[in-house]
């Protein structure tokens, strides 16, 4: 071995690397360390330098000479499109190395390629020696996150354009098979059919399936009920004849124009033979225009009936979907859904207050669980309760009965508007959850003092309470009293922390993810149970311990994290991880619902692309980090 000879090669290599980022900014000592530990390898044209089948990435490659083609593996389609060419000075694959897993991107030499290769151990050592390099790698990973979001947007963009533009043909707008009847059908049959199928209109067709008339809900009143027409008459006698038709190829604009010109609410789409193919309503067109947030809010606030609110709730879904397609983050969407759901709920409460006299009583409507945390997704059931103040003049039994009646109506209306009744009966109409402030305080105190399993479970639902309507200061008082209790009972927080550690992130020792937790759904991960909940549980303990009033997980992490001296970057990483899991849930639920299934939270890691898998893994690591902090704080 000769020092001067090595020195010559090393300094020539340093000079070479200095021409490329991040080596141009790298600390001299770190760069020397890098160069002293690389080996130079050669790959002939066509050779696979790094690919998934080679197993866990063991070296960092830096191209010295030649071109390398990076082709994302797995995943769907346009791989050709997304292939990238790397040239001298560029490194790969930092992502696979950092994650210590195989690279699913295949790196292939496009010509004779020389690469400097740094073994994984030295790579990690380098990230510690060089802040510049460390930053480079971190930003690279962050870049992957951006890419992933871009991919998400791309994935939805096509659908979005299909859905949103007024240029879409009617064939794209009409979704369900039209329901039509023959002219000789009795009015009774038609009305029964409309009621059972929730139809706003009925088309009457002749034997050739060509529409000859239309009958709508509003006609029932004007043409049947008021004139007292017999239900046994034929529909032909009351229908509006010669309905407006448009060919399937006409677009939404045409339909809107036709409706405006003729002051009608429905247009029939027909094929070339004039046969009925679908009904386009004014509502369908409104959805296309993607009724903005303000319109929706306005329509909710001014809604005079549950029916209108039911539609508004559907608009909320539609709009949040649009947001998903536009690449809005998980946090914003869940908060958006929560906010509008709040508005719907408030309006339902207001409508019911007209029928229930609660005047003179101080009370507040509370939401619990995910609603309490402002973290609702597409599928969400009701979690609510009532708190009220009992004065000496009031009879407790009587007052509670009034509230329960009121609550039952609200719960039912919420159910009609798409917030299914809670299976666990966590609803204001449950006498156990319709309590005076003192009773709530007493109940919370009992859970805190005797943290048995059920009490801890309750804490995870009810301690995330948030006032939605009424006297908000009641909720504030309840929160202060909760803090007093938790501060006075350190054992409770310790038990709650232990409870939060009950589920570990599904990271495997050998495989990336543990997917066998649910024997009925092998290959899946419940990202709510094994992902999101880990964050919310940890954030709850942090918040209660630091008397942070927020219930939202991100707010809790931000505010409690600051008090706990968690570094800003670490905090941001945790929040990013949490939001990514939420985004996965939203996307998954959306797909499930589109395919007519109840939205669950079961994600198949195998079906994610490489970047998403990597971020998912990182998100779980962040959960593990939060859990580690709990272990440290409570010596568990």
């Amino acid at each position: 071995m000769s020092n001067s000879a090595t020195e010559m090669l090393v300094s020539a290599t340093i000079t070479f690397l200095r021409g490329y980022p991040p080596f141009d900014r790298m600390e001299a000592e770190a760069l020397r360390f890098l160069v002293e530990h690389v080996k130079l390898a050669h790959y002939p044209k066509g050779a696979r330098i790094l690919a998934s089948e080679m197993g866990v990435a063991r070296t960092l490659h830096i191209v010295q000479r030649g071109k390398v083609r990076a082709k994302p593996g797995g995943g769907a389609g346009n791989a050709e499109h997304s292939a990238v060419t790397l040239g001298p000075g560029q490194c790969f694959s930092i992502g696979a190395l950092m994650a210590q897993q195989p690279s699913s991107t295949a790196y292939v030499a496009r010509e004779d390629v020389f690469c400097y290769e740094l073994p994984a151990d030295e790579f990690f050592s380098l990230t510690q020696r060089s802040t510049v390099f460390n930053l480079f790698c971190t930003q690279y990973i962050a870049g992957l996150l951006d890419q992933s979001q871009q991919q998400l947007q791309l994935q939805f963009a096509q659908r979005a354009t299909e859905q949103k533009t007024m240029n879409s043909p009617l064939s794209a707008i009409v979704k369900r098979e039209p329901v039509a009847v023959a002219p000789e059908t009795s009015i009774r049959q038609v009305v029964e059919l409309m009621a059972s199928r929730h139809l706003g209109s009925m088309v009457v067709v002749d034997s050739a399936q060509q529409p000859i008339g239309i009958f709508t809900l509003s006609d029932v009143l004007k043409r049947i009920v008021l004139p007292g027409v017999s239900l046994e008459q034929t529909i032909a006698s009351v229908m509006s004849p010669a309905p407006l038709t448009l060919p399937l190829a006409a677009n939404a604009h045409d339909a809107a124009l036709t409706m405006a010109m003729h002051a009608v609410r429905h247009v029939l789409a027909v094929d070339e033979g004039g046969r009925l193919k679908g009904v386009v309503s004014e509502r369908d067109l409104f959805k296309l225009q993607g009724g903005g947030l303000r319109q929706i809010r306005h329509s909710i606030d001014s809604a005079g009936s549950i029916e209108v609110l039911r539609h508004a709730r559907e608009d909320v879904r539609q709009l949040s979907l649009t947001m998903l397609t536009e690449g809005v983050g998980g946090q914003e969407i869940t908060q958006f859904i929560s906010t509008l759901n709040d508005t719907v709920t408030r309006r339902i409460i207001e409508l019911n207050l007209d029928r229930h006299d609660l005047y003179g009583i101080d009370w507040a409507w509370l939401s619990f669980g995910s609603e309490g945390r402002d973290e609702q997704t597409f599928t969400t059931d009701q979690d609510n309760g009532i708190v009220y103040l009992l004065t000496d003049l009031m009879d407790r039994e009587q007052t509670q009965l009034r509230f329960l009646e009121f609550a039952r109506d609200v719960n039912d209306d919420l159910d009609k508007c798409g917030f299914p009744l809670c299976k666990g009966n966590i609803m204001a109409s449950n006498p156990d959850l319709c309590l005076t402030l003192e009773e709530w305080e007493e109940r919370f105190a009992r859970w805190v003092r005797t943290p048995e399993p059920q009490a801890l479970l309750n804490a995870t639902i009810f301690f995330d309470f948030r006032p939605l309507y009424g006297r908000f200061n009641l909720a504030h008082r309840l929160r202060l009293s909760l803090f007093r209790q938790t501060q006075g009972n350190p054992l409770f927080l310790r038990m709650l922390a232990q409870n939060a550690l009950g589920v570990a992130p599904p990271l495997g020792r050998i495989r990336d993810f543990v997917t066998g937790a649910d024997p009925e759904h092998p290959g899946t991960i419940d990202v709510k149970k094994y992902g999101v909940r880990l964050f919310t549980d940890a954030a709850r303990v942090f918040a209660l311990a630091r008397q942070v009033e927020a219930t939202n997980t991100v707010s809790r992490l931000k505010r409690a994290g600051a008090l706990m001296n968690i570094a800003r970057d670490d905090l941001a990483a945790s929040i990013e991880g949490f939001n990514f899991l939420q985004l996965l849930r939203l996307r998954h639920q959306h797909f499930e619902q589109e395919h007519g299934r109840a939205g669950d939270n079961l994600i198949r890691p195998d079906e994610l692309n490489e970047i998403e898998r990597r971020i998912l893994k990182e998100a779980f690591r962040q959960a593990r980090k939060l859990q580690a902090r709990l272990k440290l704080d409570y010596q568990l």
């Binding site: 010559m8 090669l9 130079l40 790959y43 002939p44």
Partner: protein, 236 residues
């Protein structure tokens, strides 16, 4: 040939004037097992050699400096490099500062250098561009300084490459410079022994990749290839 006859004496007897530790180093080298030339290129340690000589011409040429670089399992490691200066051309005639005749100082330096090279090379197959010239220079110095004859084979990249890369046109006629230009390999400092050995080592990497693809996957297969090529060339 005078140097050739010395080989036999070197093998049997011992070179006088060597210290015990120097002799032990030589003995240790003799003890090394021969490299298995049938193993894959990618499980072989090749030593790429480049020499610099005085430019008198003919047999009178003497080794001035020696550069070598190992290609282990197909990889170049900057720490696995060798360089030695055997003579200082500029100082001939004058006495060295310690009073000993300059020629004696040079001899001691040369002995140390060749011993170091022996340790570096071990019994690995040796690679050079125009190997017969390098082999001649190295063998003579080995014999003169240490009384040792290297037993491992030399592989001549010039012959091997001209066979493996028959598709390459004019560049193949341009010697080392031609090949470097063809494969776009930069020299750090052309005609420096280490730099040239490094460039040659990269050519070796390209060569073994091509050879492996054509089924010549071991050092011995490269030797066969070279032999066949020489034969063809000489008879044709």
């Amino acid at each position: 040939m005078a140097w050739y006859s010395r080989l036999f004496t070197a093998q049997e007897g011992r070179k006088p004037g060597l210290t015990t530790s120097q002799q032990q180093s030589i003995d240790a080298w003799h003890e090394l097992p021969a490299a298995d030339l049938r193993r894959s290129h990618y499980r072989t340690r090749y030593v790429v050699v480049d020499v610099e000589t005085t430019v008198i011409g003919g047999d009178a040429d003497r080794l001035v400096s020696l550069g070598a670089l190992a290609v282990v399992d197909g990889l170049i490691d900057f720490k696995d490099v060798f360089q030695a200066c055997l003579a200082n051309e500029s100082a001939d005639g004058e006495a060295a500062s310690d009073g000993r005749p300059q020629i004696e100082t040079a001899r001691i330096a040369a002995v140390d250098a060749m011993l170091a090279f022996l340790r570096f090379a071990g019994k690995a197959p040796l690679i050079s561009f125009h190997a017969s010239f390098a082999a001649q220079q190295v063998d003579r110095a080995m014999g003169e300084c240490l009384g040792v004859a290297l037993r491992q084979p030399w592989i001549d990249l010039a012959w091997v490459m001209s066979d493996l890369f028959r598709d390459v046109g004019d560049d193949s006629q341009g010697g080392l410079d031609g090949w470097l230009a063809h494969f776009d390999i930069e020299s750090i400092k052309r005609h420096d022994v280490v730099s040239d050995a490094y460039a040659t080592a990269k050519l070796l990497q390209i060569t073994i990749a091509r050879a492996a693809r054509k089924g010549f996957d071991s050092p011995s297969s490269l030797l066969d290839l070279e032999k066949a090529r020489r034969h063809l060339h000489q008879s044709g």
